[in-house]
Symmetry: C3
Subunit: 306 residues, 3 copies
């Protein structure tokens, strides 16, 4: 199947997801064998208008494991020609002359789509503002599949800042493509999942419920997907931030309520919303997620580079 740009999680059909996960599985073997040289003539640009060392490292590791090379900036916003008034479109056209694929993180919603519109080479969205972060959602789904075997029939609790976290938004779009999924949104009133997502679920007949009591939900689900209350998204509403954090903490107590085969996920970084005593529990899957991210990004890069 042909994949060119990677902009949003909605673009992935079930067969395309199947191909992606199959490719990622092969990439696990490639890495175990010490990498490949298959993409040794290819160059990836990490074009980050907003810094994210973690995501950038994950993509660059993926490209290097494929045998490719990277050129990289983490403060394109401050440094590049943007500060001289250049449009994103012009920057993308120029970079088309330098590399074979662009991985872009941007602070504005919709930036990835704008970039793709003028780019002959593939653009991969590594997060645009509070918009989407599709590769995170894809690695989340891949982790669930690896750990639990099947997505159809999955029961998942999404916990924390559902209003502003793009991760849970992208993941929800993906989950809505599967059968008999049940989603439990657990959030304080002011951080509830937004209407557009709920409308999308209604339209696709996906079962969901909104809860505020984590302990009631936890025994039901296969996945507890915890998220960080993102201070940086609150602006000067510091009081709201303080009110929101600390409400839902995954600790030994929550673990004791969980099913034996259930898993705890988190897009990371975490602050204190999962206590470190959870790390050593076999159900803790958040560091596996980070590891799976490299395999998924290798697969995506291989697919768009052809």
């Amino acid at each position: 199947m042909k994949l060119h740009h990677v902009i949003e999680s909605q673009q992935f059909s079930l067969p395309l997801l199947e191909e992606l996960f199959e490719t990622a599985r092969r990439m696990e073997q490639v890495v175990a064998r010490g990498g490949t040289k298959d993409y040794s003539g290819r160059i990836m640009a990490s074009l980050f208008y907003e810094p994210s060392t973690r995501t950038r490292f994950s993509f660059e590791s993926a490209m290097i494991r494929l045998g490719g090379r990277c050129i990289s900036t983490e403060n394109a916003r401050e440094f590049s020609s943007v500060s001289k008034g250049e449009t994103l479109e012009d920057s993308i056209r120029v970079i088309n002359g330098y590399v074979d694929v662009i991985v872009m993180r941007h602070n504005e919603v919709g930036a990835a789509k704008r970039a793709a519109a003028v780019s002959d080479i593939p653009v991969i969205n590594a997060g645009d503002g509070i918009g989407q972060h599709p590769t995170q959602a894809l690695l989340d789904l891949y982790t669930i599949r690896k750990q639990l075997g099947n997505i159809d029939g999955l029961k998942i609790a999404m916990v924390g800042d559902l209003a502003q976290g793009r991760t849970v938004r992208s993941l929800t779009y993906l989950l809505s493509k599967f059968e008999r999924v049940k989603i439990y949104f657990v959030a304080p009133e002011m951080l509830k999942m937004k209407e557009d997502i709920l409308a999308h679920l209604n339209e696709h007949n996906v079962w969901y419920t909104e809860e505020t009591d984590l302990t009631r939900v936890v025994p039901e689900v296969d996945v507890v997907y915890q998220t960080r209350i993102q201070k940086e998204r609150f602006g000067d509403r510091l009081q709201d931030y303080e009110k929101s954090r600390g409400i839902y903490i995954i600790d030994r107590n929550i673990l004791s309520l969980m099913k034996n085969k259930a898993i705890v996920m988190h897009p990371l970084p975490r602050v204190d919303e999962i206590t470190i005593e959870v790390d050593s529990d076999p159900r803790a899957a958040y560091f596996d997620q980070a590891r799976n991210g490299v395999f998924i990004r290798m697969a995506l890069l291989a697919m768009v580079l052809g």
Copy 2:
């Protein structure tokens, strides 16, 4: 012919330019074939005391297409030992122990020459203050040659901030080596080409004229070389900046006055001095310039690395 450091455009004789352009042409084929491994043991340092993602990416892409590797900093001024009082000369001597070629962008005029004076390995000037930016001038000349076939007899209009734009200064030096070139400097009074360049042209018997009306010049020339009014070079003379911008805009109207075979060039980034309606005109050559920059820089790197 032997090329060691690349410091200023004046250093390029006609035969050296010929060899450079011939090498660049071969590099276009190398890239089309997916690059080479010829320089796989070699390391380039991007030593940028002033950020320029665009120029850095272009050089790094060039080095990687040659099979080489890069180590890179874009804020050498803030980060490196400079802030601890180290001289540029000491930094260069130390970096001589690490790599095979240094590409340097610096904020001070003459910095590239100072670096070259103490460096055993090649130093390539990627712009020093309002001094020179020779690789930009070389790629400009290469673009003109590719698009128009010949430099001798060229008629070119240089438009905009001629006083502070180092690009037009470096390009003028190069053009003065050719026969029967005619240069039309089009600038507002306060941004006129500086006396040292005009004296150089007089000395070499190069025809030039200074104009303020762009529409009178445009029908005459083979190249309209537009430049950005560089806000950052005006310091606190904001009123002067505001007075200067917007005087010369390349738009559909200007295009209609141009010869059919003429081209529009720009060193980029642009702000609004070329309207986007011009982009789709076959005479728009500015994104080709960016692409040609990689070939010219590959050729320069190959020549200095031997």
Copy 3:
């Protein structure tokens, strides 16, 4: 011998030092032959929470000369998830999923040890606060060995900011492992070597003396190890800084007092504590140190990567 993490200079036994120096000697030949591809499947992360272009470039050059690849950040503190509240331990665990070895510079004493405690892959300390900078001490020792043939019986003057310079601290630990070494600490009262190091020397029966007059010491020693008075470590005690600098300057006069076979060393960057007239003297060894740094770091990387 098995080497996993590189955290502090004390961890190096005499046989391990011997193996390291032997490996570094081989690396000099590898570089002279144009590098190797032996580590072409391996990735190093430069994880710098405090910028140091020099040290980072040295490590990245070493990794590339070995055939390996690098992913890199120089402001992990400002950019990474640290600013969102992530612990160093979590960051290290995540990066374990991306690369094969971590080179870390951190602003806090003990950070390297904390990182190593949770890391399955090797961690190399590239400086942690005013704690240690073991690879600098190792390259210093390697330089002495190369230039003077033997460490046993060495007489060395350490000059300048001994209280706050981590380089002299790490080097002293290493020297204490050898026989009949004599150390002359030359510092102004407020920058004297700290008690913990003196206690360590007493415990290991290493001869040392504390002096304030450089000219009396210089004729005695084989190595004059000059250091920079580090303004940035004085905080707002600017008066103390001004009082301390300029007391000990290595110039032609000091050179004339030195033995013919003695050498001048400096971890660099220097400001004015060695005058540039010294650079051309054959006893000036400080730029050789920088060069030797690449060989030592190649050897360390090769040993930890196995």
